[in-house]
Assembly symmetry: D2
Homo-oligomer: 278 residues x 4
Amino acid sequence: MCRWMAYSGEPILAEDLLFRPAHSLIVQSLHSHLGATTTNGDGFGVGWYGEGSEPAVYKSVEPAWNDRNLREITGQMRTPLLFAHVRASTGTPVQRSNCHPFRHGHWLWMHNGLLHGFQEIKRDLLMAVDPPLFPDIEGSTDSEALFFLALTFGLENDPFSGVARAVGFVEDVGRTYGIDHPVQMTVATSDGESFWIFRYSSEGRTRSLFYSSEISKLRALHPEVRVLRHLGEQTRFVVSEPLLRDLAGAWNEVPESSARLVRAGADEIRPFQPISPT
Amino acid sequence: MCRWMAYSGEPILAEDLLFRPAHSLIVQSLHSHLGATTTNGDGFGVGWYGEGSEPAVYKSVEPAWNDRNLREITGQMRTPLLFAHVRASTGTPVQRSNCHPFRHGHWLWMHNGLLHGFQEIKRDLLMAVDPPLFPDIEGSTDSEALFFLALTFGLENDPFSGVARAVGFVEDVGRTYGIDHPVQMTVATSDGESFWIFRYSSEGRTRSLFYSSEISKLRALHPEVRVLRHLGEQTRFVVSEPLLRDLAGAWNEVPESSARLVRAGADEIRPFQPISPT
Amino acid sequence: MCRWMAYSGEPILAEDLLFRPAHSLIVQSLHSHLGATTTNGDGFGVGWYGEGSEPAVYKSVEPAWNDRNLREITGQMRTPLLFAHVRASTGTPVQRSNCHPFRHGHWLWMHNGLLHGFQEIKRDLLMAVDPPLFPDIEGSTDSEALFFLALTFGLENDPFSGVARAVGFVEDVGRTYGIDHPVQMTVATSDGESFWIFRYSSEGRTRSLFYSSEISKLRALHPEVRVLRHLGEQTRFVVSEPLLRDLAGAWNEVPESSARLVRAGADEIRPFQPISPT
Amino acid sequence: MCRWMAYSGEPILAEDLLFRPAHSLIVQSLHSHLGATTTNGDGFGVGWYGEGSEPAVYKSVEPAWNDRNLREITGQMRTPLLFAHVRASTGTPVQRSNCHPFRHGHWLWMHNGLLHGFQEIKRDLLMAVDPPLFPDIEGSTDSEALFFLALTFGLENDPFSGVARAVGFVEDVGRTYGIDHPVQMTVATSDGESFWIFRYSSEGRTRSLFYSSEISKLRALHPEVRVLRHLGEQTRFVVSEPLLRDLAGAWNEVPESSARLVRAGADEIRPFQPISPT
């Protein structure tokens, strides 16, 4: 199972988010994500916004915990918006181009889940990708295919709708092949300003997804957690799996079949429903 | 520019083909292929037949000359038929799945050259690949796409015809996009028993390709070259580029627009002409 | 914690030992060793004897389960004696030269455990290595240092004694630095004909080590396990950790503080006691 | 032959130093350093100062030109002092811990050249390293050994003297082994504020080293080179080999047997003479 984390807020040193030791509620989650207890680490990736409008993406098939270069650069990486992902392959090769997050222009995308029967429906899905976008597909995963379908269906103008149409299309194709529950997903995508999260599966039983409580509330609940003092008021986290021994009151579950725009000020929450092409 | 070498003959230790020091006419060629003077080494691969009917393929993006594991295994690899390739990327990512040789079933394929305007015609080419074969495409190169088109057009039954149809198809598509000279190629492909080589380009100016003179003739010409004594009568080599300072009489040029079946006994040589789908 | 496996017996395809699916008692152990459930996979290595007198060693920092090249070559690797090891680093860098097995001449060495306080005593240990051997040390692990001490103390002539002296020396040095229990080890070493195993720790609480029951007995106990039919009478296995749900009667514990020569015919078993230099 | 480049001056985006296309005098040199025409690329490394007092170091055995992650991070790396190095191994393994620059505390070190007969004298050299420093040696190169000798002899207090004593010691040891010309080196080392360069060889025929003319002078000479407009007055470059087709007046040779402190304001130049321990 993949794990991912999204952060937005005050510019923060990536090393503090990804590696700083115990008593950091964020880092506890990330630590487990990045490998100390990971099984089947099939690559990882970090995408972040900083200089310029396009995010940088550091991805590798080396286990994150052993990646000395990752450690080095995160100590120098100050960013207001970061995505981190650890991959568990569902069959496609373990190579950098199959690691998340994927990038297109100034957009980032990461996914936990799978498109069932992908090998069978892959050709149909790729053929529906907008021809000018098609050559930009670098890897061979279902996750990247879903991203390019969302782009085809207008992600950049309206993420809620673009993703809904993409999922609707995949379900449509899947069902023609007799696949009952084609889509299993938690997704995060960003344009560098805000980020959108989605939790949905055709089966109605989606993998977990949590967003953080407000920092001021967290500081009040847990004065002993030092990293909270460094995080600003606009701090927002979304994680696929916090640790079980997590701090009470820190995490709130993202509801089944919902989508959320995470941004400074108030988030926007919507029910998520695929939009079928037919 | 990619470089490749194909060997068939008596079972021989791969290390003797790929690494043994000076005064080996074969090794001189291979040595330059594998990196001492390589520029733009964008990965390499070795495919060989041994146990079972399917060849094994060792591929890596590490420079071949530094690959300790390659050195180790070639000392243990005894084979009657081997392909070796060093890649110079024409744009697609440097990753294992984009290294040659490519494999499908018991067939191997390697290519030096390119399909011009590949990014533009890629979608059309991939859509022409036989749907059951489509999910087996692992990488993103023009070389692999050409292989899968050849398979689609019957490579496994008739390699001469399969490749001719594939090339004809690519030229056809290329020209609809205004690409004057779509195909540049030297190709080797094998089923484990024999191997076929092709030298062709739409422009009529193809990269070089050479086959070896008969071993008995070579031994007579060059008694000082020790490795020749280990090679049997059935030894056949094809190389993309022998060293300029090569032994006289050792290499013979494969003619422009020709194809050749290399096997025990007499080879079969044919002119190569693309077969257009129209 | 590292895991390792040693095999000797009839020449067997390494792929059958390392990758073949369920219902193989050996493979179950190995499967867990090679990564499906591995945590902290900090590299792996396979050493095997075949052509020539020196073993080949394939080592990598990529997780073994994702290593396509390993899969490929083990399908072509037929050997009568093989070592396989998965590393859990105790601090030194994760790099190929720090993976086991280590090789010197025709000897292989692998180790599970550690030398406590290694950073403090490292200089003393390395200075005791025979000067002609010193330049052959490639990495920075305690395991390799212990190997080179064993070589210094005559491993190649008398493994039981060489290892006992090496351990005695390390304990001696360790205690001058106030380290109570300097040595924790299970070790396997081979000259290509037989292999020696050691189970010892200064503390008297050593990590586990098991050797296999005779194949004929195993076949009688477990007729349903197909791979047993392919294994010859001389089959010998030693593993650091069989699966808990292991087949009854298959594994026998190597006693604490003991050493064993595993070979065709009868093994030789001895108590293991370090020989102090003083 | 290794190649290296040191930059100090206004904070600049590393991508502009290492990758920006033609008409950049700096980039031309760097482009050749980083691989387009590199032979024997045995790893590369970039060390730079930014957040905090310790530099970050990104090193890899992948050819620099193919390293997507390097490209990504240099677009986000803004620094006032950067070292870049491409390695040509003189025998020791190609692994990250053997790539330059080496780091100790807030010091960086890189080297082009070699210590002749290193395998023979290695033990003597390592034994002279200050015991508390000894465990920090991670790799197996002569370059790193020389660094640790310089640290032992007081590099951090007086780099001119520390390096002179280290070289004097190596020459002394080398000569006891009958090695005529033990040391061949161009070296750069930095504490994050300034950097020191050294050009010396026992033979008196050292590999090349060049420093840049003042930026204002360069701008006057070459108004067509755009990157010069982005570089501030304090820009200082030192390169091992500028391209032959370099801009006239841009590079000045560092004299044989000399050392130089490069810093804001006036540099300090001294003759370099080894200080023998005897």
